[in-house]
Amino acid sequence: MAHNNLNLKLKVWRQKNANTTGAFVKYDVNDISDEMSFLEMLDVLNEKLIVTGEEPIAFDHDCREGICGMCSLYIDGKPHGPWEANTTCQLHMRAFKDGDTITIEPWRSNAFPIVKDLTVDRGAFDRIIQAGGYVSVNTGNAVDGNSLPINKDNADASFAAAMCIGCGACVAACKNSSAMLFLSAKVSHLALLPQGEPERKSRVLNMVAQMDKEGFGSCTNTGACEAACPKEISIANIARLNKEYLRAGLTAE
């Protein structure tokens, strides 16, 4: 395969910390292999900045293989960049053309305050999970999996929802900063399984209450979240969340 090197211009959001106002800073990056990942391209730039004594650009990442949900970045007006169903760490430079200007912004939502540069605090998601995204079981021997039959369609739908890696791209994409795609994935994957049944009602009520406390907006079904989600979580999960909520709310004591 032909190997190309790219010369690019970057417009990167730089912000010292949560209390300062940030601004875009322009950088030129040259001789970038189109086989590099987007984060490797930023690594190259950071190496250069370190050598020249400048503060490197802070951005989140961990696994770099599309499974952990740590990477973020709002690239040229789309969370996780131009490719569909993809994380930023799995975005490769062949997505761009020589001479392109790439604008890189952090996730924007009051509920995700900026820590530094492109790094935001997604602790709100952890607190939502703590509010109900679990099943309570006694410790001891694991029961035989086959003793609990599960309908295949439900198992598949549950698994599809469990694919959510909690990256927050749905919030970043949503004009309402709504976290409902994330929440609906977490509620659905347990609501579809018998193991989730005992806490089914309290789970959805508590998780929605925590989501509201964190300051996320209300879903208006525009579908931007679904289009930006690296794990293709379906917006149908939000409808399921609404049903779970209505049911729990109407029957709660």
């Binding site: 417009k11 875009f24 709002y74 040229d76 007006g77 789309k78 969370p79 604008t103 912004e105 924007r108 939502s109 009051n110 509920a111 994409a173 004009k175 309402n176 900063s177 709504s178 409902m180 009520l205 929605v208 209450a209 989501m211 509201d212 300051g215 996320f216 907006g217 209300s218 879903c219 208006t220 079904n221 525009t222 579908g223 931007a224 979240c225 679904e226 289009a227 930006a228 917006i235 149908a236 999960n237 939000i238 409808a239 399921r240 969340l241 609404n242 049903k243 779970e244 909520y245 209505l246 049911r247 709310g249 109407l250 709660a252």
Partner: protein
């Protein structure tokens, strides 16, 4: 959990939008159906009779109270929701993400504002004369005296600007419904893919047919297709 908590959460507010939206959709069916009587080509006899029934029978009058309540609930909740949602992102993006969603799904409040302006003018044209200031009476063939709302329509729609405004409002309604119809069912919890595909299909059909029927009414009078 109290009902107040339930309907004031982020999901609860949407439930109110969804349920009131569906009620308004049902109202549109009744309204369009009654108004279609202008095309009976009988000089307005059937239309005036239908209007008289709606004005004199107790059931539509009770529903009318509910209708006003739901319209105001929908409008107030709609604006509050929009403002609250906007406030959740203090610093915006330099490049907007517009590819993932349709423009009209992001513009429900603007489309709704056009509809609100329309309601005010529409009530002034028809509701106020009919209920408050009075409308000239006409005798139906069976001898009953009724408001001649048909004549009011004829007169109102001789003004080209009124006709243009009604047509623009119908276009806003079409887009509001193109998103709103299917969205409302998602909001109240219909997640079954088969049903959702069906509802989307009906929703787009509804969003075309109903506003088109409404838009044809002023046009029909202006062009004297009905007399």
């Amino acid at each position: 959990m109290t009902f107040k908590q339930m309907f004031t959460s982020s999901v609860g507010k949407k439930l109110i939008m969804g349920f009131t939206g569906i009620f308004l959709v049902l109202f549109l069916v009744v309204h369009a159906g009654l108004n279609a009587c202008i095309w009976a080509m009988d000089g307005g006899v059937m239309f005036n009779r239908a209007g008289h029934f709606m004005g004199s029978n107790v059931v539509p009058r009770i529903l009318e109270v509910g209708l006003f309540f739901f319209i105001f609930l929908h409008i107030i909740q709609g604006y509050m929701l929009t403002l609250q949602n906007r406030s959740k992102r203090a610093v915006g993006y330099a490049v907007n993400y517009s590819k993932g969603s349709k423009w009209y799904s992001r513009s429900m409040a603007i489309l709704g504002t056009i509809l609100l302006m329309f309601f005010v003018i529409h009530w002034k044209h028809f509701w106020v004369p009919s209920r408050i200031t009075g409308v000239e009476e006409i005798k139906l063939p069976n001898g009953v005296e009724v408001h001649n709302l048909y004549a009011v329509m004829q007169e109102t729609f001789q003004n080209i600007w009124v006709v243009v405004f009604y047509v623009v409002s119908c276009i806003s309604l079409a887009y509001h419904l193109a998103h709103g119809f299917q969205s409302a069912f998602k909001t109240i919890g219909v997640h079954n893919k088969r049903y959702h595909a069906m509802i989307s299909c009906i929703g787009y059909g509804f969003a075309i047919i109903i506003p088109l029927a409404f838009a044809m009414m002023p046009i029909s009078f202006y062009l004297h297709w009905v007399n």
